[in-house]
Symmetry: C2
């Protein structure tokens, strides 16, 4: 793969200066056009062999363009926060807002490639990693991102010569580290693994560009011009052909079972309270289990207004230590949140190891309210099912126990609760004109809910439908289910 790169043709000083001056001006114009349009986030990934000048290239791009709108994200070994969260979390944090640019230095590919080169990662895991990356880049492309990937190449002889020449000069000797020589000894294997990664992840919506890095000027000009073309294309017309659909991620959906807690007579408070206290105690003990320090719990509550989501959450939090949980009420995304890929805001709230995240509504808004109200185009909410399955799978693979509850309330019971809320002064804030409006759209929610349950009920993160006209029984069913899931997960 790497021996067929076009030979760099060095430019003489004067022509080079003129070419750079023109490129800089053009790049700045293009950067500002993309920024002003505010539609496409730009992701530039820089990888390659040691000594190829990746760091210098990153500096140059920052110098050529306006660095105030560029974010450079460089990655080393994972820190504690990164180790305690799903694999792709740290890369989600690096995504730029629409119109802005992130330069990813030694990002998602480098991590997988180096692990594989050092044989810290088996072939299967490496391929799974590539699969995860493909999904990630596909998602970026579908969100309108410009994704550019550069691999800077030097062959083994050129790499050695470059290190030697730097070492001979006292003033530049510090630029060569023992790690560089370590990488040099693995040059052949690196090229082999990199070639696998590159050919396994080159796609029309996320192209790889291989660059001969022997001549620094040629390398920078090539990268700069490629970037320029991509920026110009992004501002001209909206890309006509969307990325092709990926095969659905995760396990095929099977219809969700309806929790069999429908009963004729409502439960009394006297029956409910001791059971509640016992379940809270059981839940508390499970979360204190030392095995839970390496797991985490995400609990999703969805349901029509007044289905009892908030009340159920409070019955859970009373069993928890305030240091170990957070509640995330989810409403419409802010303007700031809308400037990122739609799942971005939920990646912020992933529970770290040993903690619990409770979601009062969630990412399922994409296929519920956004579908029903038309806030998302059909193509966007249609692809959301797969995106959600992939998203939950990544969480689950890290060790997050994902529990999802659909709280099923009848229209009669909802009406009764709405009226009660309107009558009680301190509950009035819970009832707004929106709630009445949503009630009128009940019929439109029914197919949306059915599709959601059918298409996102996976083995790793199954739905539980809870009949919740009887609040007490619903809460006990939820607590019981949480305990059961934890018991099975913690062995």
């Amino acid at each position: 793969m790497f021996d067929r790169l076009p030979e760099p043709v060095p430019l003489d000083g004067d022509r080079l200066d003129r070419a750079i001056a023109r490129l800089r001006a053009d790049l700045l114009d293009a950067q500002y056009s993309v920024l002003e349009q505010g539609r496409a986030p730009v992701v530039v990934l820089i990888a390659g062999v040691a000594g190829a000048g990746k760091g210098v290239l990153v500096n140059t791009l920052n110098e050529w363009m306006d660095p105030r709108h560029i974010r450079t994200c460089a990655y080393g070994p994972r820190n504690e926060a990164e180790r305690q969260r799903p694999h792709m979390w740290r890369y989600w944090q690096a995504l730029p807002q629409r119109g802005r640019t992130s330069i990813i230095f030694e990002g998602w590919y480098s991590e997988a490639i180096h692990a594989r080169v050092e044989r810290r990662m088996k072939r299967r895991a490496f391929e799974h990693s590539l699969h995860e990356i493909r999904r990630f880049e596909h998602m970026l492309a579908m969100e309108g991102a410009v994704v550019l990937k550069f691999w800077l190449h030097l062959d083994a002889g050129e790499q050695r010569a470059r290190f030697r020449s730097l070492e001979r000069n006292k003033a530049t000797r510090w630029r060569v580290t023992s790690n560089d020589w370590h990488e040099h000894r693995r040059h052949k294997r690196l090229c082999k693994v990199a070639a696998e990664a590159i050919s396994g992840s080159d796609a029309p919506h996320a192209r790889w560009h291989l660059v001969d890095a022997r001549d620094a000027d040629h390398c920078e000009l090539t990268v700069g011009r490629t970037l320029l073309r991509a920026l110009r294309a992004a501002t001209s017309v909206r890309p006509a052909a969307p990325a092709p659909a990926l095969p659905p991620a995760g396990v095929a959906g099977t219809p969700a079972p309806l929790e069999a807690v429908r009963a004729d007579k409502p439960m009394t408070k006297a029956q409910y309270e001791p059971e509640l206290e016992a379940l809270q105690g059981r839940l508390n003990m499970l979360l204190r289990d030392e095995k839970f320090a390496h797991r985490s719990l995400a609990v999703v509550f969805e349901g029509m207004d007044a289905a009892g989501k908030g009340g159920s959450i409070r019955r859970i939090t009373r069993a928890l230590d305030a240091r170990h949980y957070s509640v995330h009420p989810v409403s419409a995304p802010s303007e700031h949140e809308r400037s990122y890929p739609w799942l971005w805001r939920f990646w912020r709230d992933v529970p770290h190891d040993g903690s619990v995240a409770l979601f009062d509504r969630s990412w399922y808004g994409r296929v519920l309210v956004e579908r029903v109200e038309g806030f998302a185009a059909e193509a966007d909410w249609q692809r959301a099912y797969d995106e959600i399955n992939a998203f939950e799978q990544e969480w689950a693979e890290h060790g997050v126990i994902v529990c999802k509850f659909w709280l099923e309330v009848s229209t009669d019971e909802q009406l009764r609760r709405f009226n009660e809320r309107s009558r009680t002064r301190f509950k009035r804030f819970k009832i707004t004109p929106d709630d009445w409006r949503n009630r009128e759209k009940w019929a439109q929610y029914v197919p949306a809910v059915q599709d959601m349950l059918a298409r996102t009920h996976t083995e790793m993160s199954p739905w539980q439908v809870v009949w919740s006209d009887d609040k007490y029984r619903a809460r006990l069913a939820i607590l019981g289910e949480l305990c059961a899931r934890l018991e099975s997960a913690l062995g």
Copy 2:
């Protein structure tokens, strides 16, 4: 202190229910008023003895008010990210936006008090901690925050009785942990230390409220009513009497020395380049020193437009590993940033241990552009000198090496650079109408700069004035100074 608390008068069921219903409705109204006004952030701190019901109280407040506008922040032992940053960093992250509420559960007091109770903290350090907290709360009050602090008290006998009664019931036994009994054995010492902390930090702008926690209903009603009064006061009139000024923090300022690099003849490129490379090498080696893993470096660049801030930063970053530094270009705060105390946005960018943060303009904008342009009221920028000194002191005390450079450029040289920028197509983005406008205000910046240098030149974070008409000499002086500061800090 704790034995003079008023005896709780228990309310009977019916009167209690009515009182709670009224309080909830009033609290909600008050919460919405504060929110709509969007002026005052609300900080509610909950501390007290084990078993007093702090966790239940936090849940109750979230139930009584609209939890979507409340953030509950609970603190345990510090994680890696928290250990790698200055002490107060994690509490800055917890501050609410104006109009919103943060409930701080076991926050800044609990941490100091428990460390002192367990004798992990000496008296001197404890007093220093209290001093730091006073400064922090003073800052909050000056920023318009409502600060409420509650201490929930039980005497030793009541505490024991409560634990015993919970333990007797199988369903509630899990609520008592071995840590609770551990705290019980230290009850007397805890009360002594807490009394010191409370009397040392009670202030009109950040009052302590001691609450007898024997009766849970009384406790919740008392806290709720106190909160209600505070919220109502916040929305009525703007507090007339501001908090009194604190004694200035940090070391007294002495005038900054002018770097003696003013020379008749500009340096040539041939003289400059080998020196630059050598200094970059020296800096690189210093940052690789294993001792630097426990320190960090913050470099501030201030100066008139075109003084050479960006160019100096690039000469530094070329010596660094991209994984270990970040550049923060500082411009006017966004609306979101303005909704927090003004220093908040800079606390996000504190370098963690082992890393470097470079600021292209900084928090000094408060006493430069905000003063000159009238964006900050005089009272606000006047108090900023002390706030900045305290802020930098907290960073320095953690181990951040704070280097501040004022790049002094002459009006003639600035004009020459402006004209050059206008002529070069790829530099035109660096020159805007604002730059010309600022140039006209040069005379107004002179006293602002003089005051800044005189009042924020501290022993821990001194200013270096760099004569920068000669770019080459300026860059070398800056790199040399950074190396010298690092060499002295790393011993």
